[in-house]
């Protein structure tokens, strides 16, 4: 019964979405307040319906109702409750439900927080959001319905893929989707602006918090996913340039560019057309990612044959929205007036360079991801484009960007003083080289590039603080006065500094791990020892253990340094009973920011076992940097000036309230 309610709620949601996607648009054209007022209330009801539907599916998972096919395929009565619940989105149908839930959540948030947007803009934005909702509702109902029943109901489910039975599943997809799908708001704002044919700095002020929120969640989602892959897959890698990863990384790159170009538009009214285009591109990449991941096209174009309707349906959604938005852009963009002249060397100039590099590197990643697909479709030849390609192209393109990151905030708007900015960075650059050299010496050499890379990371970290230092005027003023000035700086200044610092921390981690990681693969018997990263591991033997839905062989290692035991670690190989599927559970111990990573291989005939041990220096920096970037995003979001509509609320309160407006709210 509850499952059917969920199903009906979804159908009802489609009906509401259809209304919201048309009526407010008509209202905005005719200036009919009543029709436009349908948008906010409709969007909130739409969110309510989808939530109801989602909860119904969750309930079916919670009580293990195997008469629902989706539950039977992806759950098991013995699974711990947390995996039953997060298993809702651990499959195709459920993850599309989560996608839709978050999309409608963002619509509802726009409806709720956007009370001081101009009425027509709000109506148009919510209508565009509803178009996307209609497309995905149709997709779910027609091709991926999670509410289909099975007759007769099976007694036991087929279990969730063991790789997904991890707390990571509870956190990673929601965060990632909050980012991915959050960019739909920027897209809707862009399309609405094109429909209205009018755009100004206020538009950028409304779009920026949404961009920032989506970017912050996407950063967290990607970092979380990377750490999950690192500890769960047992190969010790943290980024594989796998097309699925690229699918989430491309919107992040484009979103980062959007974040910076919207800043120029808000402050200087320049780059308007470019910002609109970038907003469209960013969400198009999110849709492309959804298509790549959800259609099964990734491993081969021929996967279409396995489920042609789904793949073609998403491809249709992709082409309608991307093609439609670009066509609209081509038609209307010439009408948007651009403004704001600036010299090439200025804050704007630096941000344009940022945008150039970010979009070109996004295009590079896109090329590497799609080229094998295109080539196979056209010629039937099968190739793989792997990490070496991306490291070479993306890695090299990023270097100039990383070098200018600390300079940007130091340049003035309109016309900057490059020499002055560089002078302020001399000290930092020198310090970075010295510390880099120090780290290089401590790690006992390595490639010379590693030393430069480390210095680059430190330069970014210290450089992010230079702007704060000079704005508070430390060194010239007395410490207490400067400190008071520092406290008085807007939060967005701290947000910028934190985000740039996080980038530096991540770069530091990447360089350190790439250059100084050591790997040992060896056959061990009980009592044998191995050395890695200055620590000694003793293999104490194997033990069998039983979990709720798996059995495992666990190996115990004692870790000591200079003869003193400092830690111990279990590493295991599991067999999940329902699917007879083996997994490797790596044993990981952290020492400061570095980690020892122990993974088991196959048992040998003579009682030994193959063990793979990595020493990963400073690896935690990679994700710590992501965390700092995320904190930077939240700090910036909490800035008063960015609070949605904060400036316009004051402006509006000054005016006499119009009766039509009250009717709309």
């Amino acid at each position: 019964m509850i499952v059917e309610i969920g199903h009906y709620a979804l159908v009802l949601a489609l009906a509401i979405a259809l209304i919201v996607s048309i009526a407010p648009l008509v209202g905005a054209r005719r200036n009919d307040a009543a029709l436009m007022a349908l948008a906010p209330s409709g969007s909130i009801i739409l969110f309510g319906m989808v939530t109801l539907s989602f909860l119904a599916l969750t309930w079916a998972y919670a009580v293990s109702d195997f008469s629902v096919r989706n539950v039977w395929e992806n759950s098991h009565s013995l699974m711990p409750m947390v995996y039953k619940l997060s298993g809702v989105w651990g499959n195709h149908e459920g993850s599309m439900m989560l996608w839709l839930l978050i999309l409608t959540l963002f619509s509802a948030l726009v409806a709720f927080f956007g009370r001081n947007l101009p009425e027509t803009l709000r109506a148009n934005v919510l209508a565009v959001q509803a178009w996307v909702a209609v497309a995905f509702l149709l997709f779910i109902l027609l091709t991926s319905n999670p509410f289909i029943r099975l007759m007769p109901a099976p007694a036991e489910g087929q279990d969730l893929n063991p790789i997904l039975q991890d707390p990571g599943l509870a956190v990673h997809p929601p965060l990632l989707y909050l980012g991915y799908v959050g960019f739909s708001v920027c897209f809707s704002f862009a399309v609405a602006a094109l429909i209205e044919g009018r755009i100004d700095a206020a538009w950028a002020r409304w779009v920026r918090p949404w961009t920032l929120a989506a970017w912050t969640f996407l950063t967290a989602g990607i970092a979380m996913g990377s750490y999950w892959a690192y500890y769960e897959l047992g190969w010790g890698g943290w980024w594989f340039w796998d097309p699925v990863e690229n699918a989430s990384f491309m919107p992040w790159l484009a979103g980062t560019a959007l974040l910076h170009s919207a800043l120029v538009m808000e402050k200087r009214e320049a780059l308007k057309i470019w910002t609109v285009l970038l907003a469209i591109i960013t969400f198009s990449l999110s849709l492309l990612g959804t298509f790549l991941v959800r259609s099964g096209v990734l491993t081969s174009v021929h996967a279409f044959a396995t489920d042609p309707t789904r793949g073609t349906f998403i491809l249709a959604i992709l082409s309608i929205f991307v093609g439609g938005a670009f066509a609209l852009f081509a038609w209307r963009a010439p009408q948007l007036k651009s403004g704001g002249i600036f010299a090439p060397i200025s804050r704007e100039g630096a941000l344009v360079l940022n945008n150039l590099i970010l979009t070109v590197s996004t295009a590079t990643v896109l090329t590497g991801t799609l080229y094998p697909l295109v080539l196979e479709t056209l010629t039937g030849e099968k190739i793989s484009v792997g990490a070496p390609f991306f490291n070479l192209t993306f890695g090299l393109l990023m270097i100039p960007l990383l070098l200018i990151v600390p300079m940007g905030p130091l340049l003035a708007w309109k016309r900057g003083d490059l020499l002055g900015a560089m002078q302020r960075l001399y000290l930092v650059a020198g310090l970075a080289l010295v510390v880099g050299l120090g780290l290089y010496y401590v790690e006992n050499g390595g490639p010379v590039l590693a030393f430069l890379g480390l210095a680059l990371g430190i330069y970014l970290i210290l450089g992010s603080l230079v702007d704060l230092w000079y704005r508070a005027n430390f060194g010239k003023l007395a410490f207490s006065i400067a400190f008071a000035r520092l406290k008085g700086l807007p939060r967005s200044a701290f947000g910028t500094a934190l985000a740039h610092m996080g980038l530096g921390v991540t770069v530091l981690g990447i360089v350190a791990v790439t250059a100084f990681e050591t790997e040992h693969v060896l056959e061990m018997k009980q009592g044998m020892t191995a050395d890695a990263g200055g620590y000694t591991l003793v293999f104490d033997g194997m033990k069998e253990a039983v979990g709720p839905n798996f059995t495992e062989e666990r190996a115990h290692f004692t870790i000591s340094k200079a003869g003193v035991a400092v830690a111990d670690v279990w590493s295991s190989k599991r067999i999940y009973t329902a699917r007879r599927m083996p997994t490797t559970e790596a044993g990981i111990v952290s020492f400061g920011l570095s980690q020892l990573y122990v993974s088991l291989g196959d048992p040998m005939a003579d009682g030994g076992i193959v063990v793979r041990i990595w020493w990963k220096p400073f690896i935690l920096c990679i994700w710590l940097g992501g965390l700092i970037m995320m904190i930077g995003g939240f700090v910036s979001l909490s800035d008063r000036r960015l609070r949605v509509g904060a400036p316009s609320r004051r402006a509006k309160a000054a005016k006499p309230a119009k009766p039509a407006m009250e009717a709309a709210e």
């Binding site: 195709h92 959800r294 793989s384």
Partner: protein, 158 residues
């Protein structure tokens, strides 16, 4: 410099950056792309030693031999031909005789294939797509021995 000249300089700068990126991409493609082969393709046309390729097929039953340390040798077959492969390292969890694999590596001058990676995916039903397509086309692989359909579905949630 006049304003127009300045503008042209900026545009030229941007264009040259894009040009560098394009050249870089083309260079990287020529360096690091690996083509996919099945054992019978290799019988037809030779691959010169040192060229990186991907070799796919089924692990031939009874061919897996463990050597010294963590070196493993096995044969990859597609029913009509087979190629001996050696690999040092830990095999993926789902590596079994009779299962589909994709290995990546180079032929040494003595015509032995040395793999540096053996592809593993996230699902027990997983059959690498390239392998499944070809085996199906050649009629070697039968539906039902672990279908690629469910494999794809299970492996997509990352």
């Amino acid at each position: 410099m006049t304003r127009k000249q300045k503008r042209m300089a900026v545009i030229a700068g941007g264009m040259s950056f894009i040009l560098i990126a394009v050249l870089l991409v083309m260079f990287a493609f020529s360096q690091s792309v690996a083509y996919f082969f099945m054992p019978s393709d290799l019988a037809k046309n030779e691959v010169s030693p040192g060229t990186r390729i991907r070799l796919g097929g089924l692990v031939e039953a009874g061919s897996v031999q463990r050597g010294a340390g963590s070196t493993v040798s096995f044969k990859v077959t597609d029913g009509s031909a087979s190629v001996p492969v050696s690999y040092t390292g830990i095999l993926p969890d789902l590596f079994r005789e009779g299962q589909g694999v994709v290995t990546e590596g180079v032929f040494t001058s003595s015509r032995a294939f040395v793999a540096d990676s053996v592809l593993a995916k996230h699902d027990e039903n997983y059959m690498p797509k390239e392998v499944a397509d070809r085996l199906k086309a050649d009629g070697v692989w039968k539906e039902g021995e672990g279908s690629p359909t469910t494999g794809a579905k299970g492996s997509v949630t990352r």
